[in-house]
């Protein structure tokens, strides 16, 4: 099946999101769709699958003009969309999920689970995966949930599968499995649209790249012809000669010391130090225990054994409150569920941990609280006309800035940042890196957990690599490179 989108325009209210996008999709190709957040990628795909209706422009399937009124019609035509937030019913089993919309029943209208199971098993075999059909979907890993969606689309014989950031929440192993499945789909002639921010994946998995910027398609080329540099340039509209701002200052004395920290089953014998004004990068594969270690230090998940010393003082941290009091801040990896109260205003989110310091006998001084929030917002470059807007209405990058503003406002000595730039666009990334440099120049120390090696290499003064719950090694900025880190992260030497 071939699809062509021609000169698509779309506005939401006064906001012109798409201003003439062209996209051609051939059968059996993996087509990467790249662009900063807000470039219009998701909107374009929503139009293709009938979720939104374009204001102008045409969609052709195999040369015939079509117009889908809703996602079901698109699905019937063979176009499936796997959203970033997966569409599963967590309370139902995988099997029930697979057949929710297209159940198989006998002549009496009674569901034929035996038959459904048989079909499901067949389809799984075809793409060489295994799914726990009787497990509750909510109990399964994100990877399994995603496979469930893929199998579901195979059941309705999808010819085009759109995937929006499919690897964002997958472990390394699950990602590899996904790529395998993608290759086998490709062999069957299925075309795929692959929306991703991850350059490595695009280069290893995709055939063609279309870059979008500000609602227009900039260019479409084969992966080999395009090249990294040019893709970045087309995405941001300018060349980024030096993406990571140079680290100027030299780390000072040791401020934090973690000794024989452990939590059975998650991590053991964690010993490390952090210096004043230092950025300590924490690398490792997904699931290696990086996040767990940070959450334990901050007291989010409770009990652990070991010693934490901050500026020579022994800390007993049982809950986040204790850590905050000691001068630690924590930007969690999941800003939507743990970082922000999405339907609260930006102002109230920024003020959340600091509200006590603007109250006398618990009565709030709103004037100084507002001044503080405005100061923090402008310091972090939060782009919003009005701090009374709901935090959820901001773009990912601005949301992340609000989360960071919230912690910087507490004036901590140490900030732990877990995946500080995940899922945000290039411009906002750069802003956050510059802010990190500014913070460390002022004596704040940062622990940065990241799955993006270029970021680890570009920003860290020192790199700690975690492998299966243990520290596999430490590298200084000067000696580190991708190969060394990956070797440590995968348990090699």
């Amino acid at each position: 099946m071939e699809i062509e989108l021609r000169n698509i325009h779309k506005a939401f209210g006064t906001n012109q999101v798409l201003k003439g996008v062209n996209l051609k999709l051939k059968s059996g190709e993996v087509h990467a769709l790249m662009g900063e957040n807000g470039a219009g990628k998701s909107t374009l795909m929503n139009i293709l699958t009938g979720i939104h209706k374009q204001d102008q422009g045409q969609i052709f399937v195999d040369g015939k003009e079509v117009s889908f009124k809703n996602p079901l019609e698109a699905e019937a035509a063979g176009i499936a969309f796997i959203h970033q937030e997966l569409n599963i019913w967590p309370n139902l089993t995988i099997l029930e999920n697979l057949f929710m919309m297209h159940s198989v029943a006998n002549a009496w209208g009674v569901l034929d689970f035996k038959k459904m199971r048989q079909i499901a098993e067949e389809k799984c075999k075809e793409i060489a995966i295994e799914l726990p059909l009787d497990a509750e979907a909510g109990e399964c890993s994100v990877g399994q949930q995603q496979m469930t969606e893929i199998v579901r689309n195979l059941l309705v014989d999808a010819k085009v599968v759109i995937m929006d950031e499919p690897t964002a929440a997958l472990t390394e192993r699950e990602t590899d499995k996904l790529f395998e499945v993608m290759r086998s789909l490709k062999k069957r002639g299925v075309a795929m649209v692959y929306i991703s921010h991850r350059m490595e994946e695009v280069f290893s998995q995709c055939d063609t790249v279309t870059v979008m910027r500000d609602g227009v398609s900039v260019d479409t080329k084969s992966v080999a012809d395009y090249g990294r540099e040019q893709i970045v340039r087309d995405m941001v509209g300018r060349s980024i000669t030096e993406f990571y701002p140079p680290r100027g200052n030299k780390p000072g004395e040791v401020v934090l010391e973690v000794k024989s920290f452990q939590q059975p089953g998650l991590f053991h014998n964690i010993n490390f130090t952090l210096r004043k004004g230092e950025i300590l990068g924490v690398a490792g594969l997904m699931g290696a225990g990086r996040t767990e270690i940070m959450r334990a230090i901050f007291g989010v998940d409770g009990c652990q054994s070991g010693e934490i010393t901050l500026k020579g003082q022994n800390l007993h941290i049982n809950k986040p409150e204790d850590a905050i009091k000691a001068g630690i801040g924590f930007v969690t990896e999941n800003r939507k569920s743990e970082g922000l109260i999405l339907d609260f205003s930006i102002l109230r989110n920024i003020a959340l941990p600091s509200v006590d310091s603007f109250a006398k006998k618990s009565v709030i001084n709103f004037k100084s609280l507002n001044e503080f929030a405005h100061k923090m917002a402008s310091k972090l470059g939060v782009k919003a006309q009005d701090l009374d807007l709901e935090a959820g209405s901001l773009s990912g990058g601005n949301q992340q800035k609000v989360v960071i503003a919230k912690w910087v406002g507490k004036k901590p000595d140490i900030i732990i940042m877990d995946e500080p730039t995940r899922g945000i666009d290039v411009g906002a990334k750069r802003d956050i890196y510059e802010l990190m440099n500014e913070l460390t120049a002022n004596g704040v120390s940062i622990i940065m957990v990241s799955s993006e090696l270029p970021e680890i290499l570009g920003m860290s003064d020192r790199i700690m690599v975690i492998h299966e719950g243990c520290i596999a090694g430490e590298l200084l900025h000067e000696e580190a490179n991708q190969e060394k880190i990956m070797a440590l992260a995968t348990g090699g030497q």
Binding site: E321, I324, F330, S337, G339, I341, L352, P353, S362, I364
Partner: protein, 309 residues
């Protein structure tokens, strides 16, 4: 502020005004000052409970035990006064007993990690059962001759019924706490997203226990007013009050999932329910139909709210 936002903010006020206008057109005795005073007195008990319920619902919880707390603190206070103690001390005691019972709810919910609905469903029957055990099912009547005590439920100050004054006073306190203090801010935050609040260092348990405690306190006060009005403590008092309280909070636009809502809305919600009760009586609508009408009004209010947002 544009027209739409105005409408959104004051939708329940408009509803109340319309209701008032319609009922007084149908029967002018509705707007007699004496009836209006009566109306305020009737509203006050539900309003006091609803203020507490607003705190609880803002944290994302619910309290089904309010009617039972009212009854238990009322009979304990009744027997305390009946045995010759100072009635004013009795009133204070009722509030404190209510607060303690509310704190029990809060502790079960936070420390025992029981879902608020289940926890307060259990304490609802426990407290009611204790009330019946304590009184053997009989009311405690003719409590005292004290004028001061009778005045608490029946009297007037500057032309307003004392219960209405208590209501306004407690409204002021609740408003102040919710909008001007860190405690209020944190109450909203906990209901908005508990996880975010926890990581931001907010003492979640403390906030929740406070919400249930203040609810209990206000139930005790409502119980004292009711007892004073009747000069008698009824073990079956307050049955079904939780529903009126929840209705008032919801009518006032507070979200049952927590984190969103205003105490101003709650007092208007309570006034709407009180106006309906009083007005339908004056219009001689059968009490069977009254329930139907009340239910429809609640449904309409929520549907309209949905449409606006």
């Amino acid at each position: 502020m544009n027209m739409k936002a105005m409408l959104k903010k004051s939708g329940s006020v408009i509803g109340l005004v319309v209701l008032f206008a319609v009922i007084s057109c149908l029967n002018s005795s509705f707007i007699d000052p004496s009836n209006l005073k009566n109306l305020l007195r009737q509203v006050s008990i539900n309003a006091l409970i609803s203020f507490g319920m607003t705190f609880v619902i803002l944290t994302g919880g619910i309290d089904l035990s309010v009617g039972s707390i009212l009854a238990l603190s009322s009979v304990l206070m009744g027997s305390f006064i009946k045995s010759g103690n100072d009635p004013v001390v009795g009133i204070v005691l009722a509030c404190l007993i209510g607060a303690v019972l509310g704190a029990v709810n809060g502790l079960v919910i936070t420390k025992g990690k029981v879902a608020p609905f289940i926890a307060t469903l259990a304490t609802m029957t426990i407290f009611r059962g204790l009330t019946l055990v304590y009184t053997n099912g009989n009311p405690i009547s003719s409590l005292t001759e004290s004028e001061l005590f009778h005045g608490f439920g029946q009297g007037y100050i500057v032309g307003l019924p004392v219960p209405a004054i208590m209501m306004l006073l407690m409204f002021g306190v609740a408003y102040f706490i919710l909008h001007k203090t860190t405690l209020g801010r944190k109450t909203y935050a906990v209901g908005g997203n508990e996880k975010v609040s926890f990581i931001a260092g907010i003492k979640i348990d403390r906030i929740k226990i406070f919400a249930y405690t203040i609810t209990g306190f206000l139930c005790g006060m409502a119980g004292a007013i009711l007892t004073s009005r009747l000069n008698s403590a009824q073990p079956t008092a307050g049955t079904g009050y939780e529903l009126d309280a929840i209705a008032a909070v919801v009518l006032g636009g507070t979200s049952l999932s927590g984190g969103k809502g205003r105490i101003v809305g709650t007092i208007i919600g309570a006034l709407i329910i009180g106006t309906l009760n009083n007005g339908l009586n004056i219009l001689n609508v059968s009490s069977f139909y009254q329930q139907v009408v009340k239910g429809i009004v609640i449904l309409l209010a929520v549907l309209m709210d949905r449409k606006k947002s």
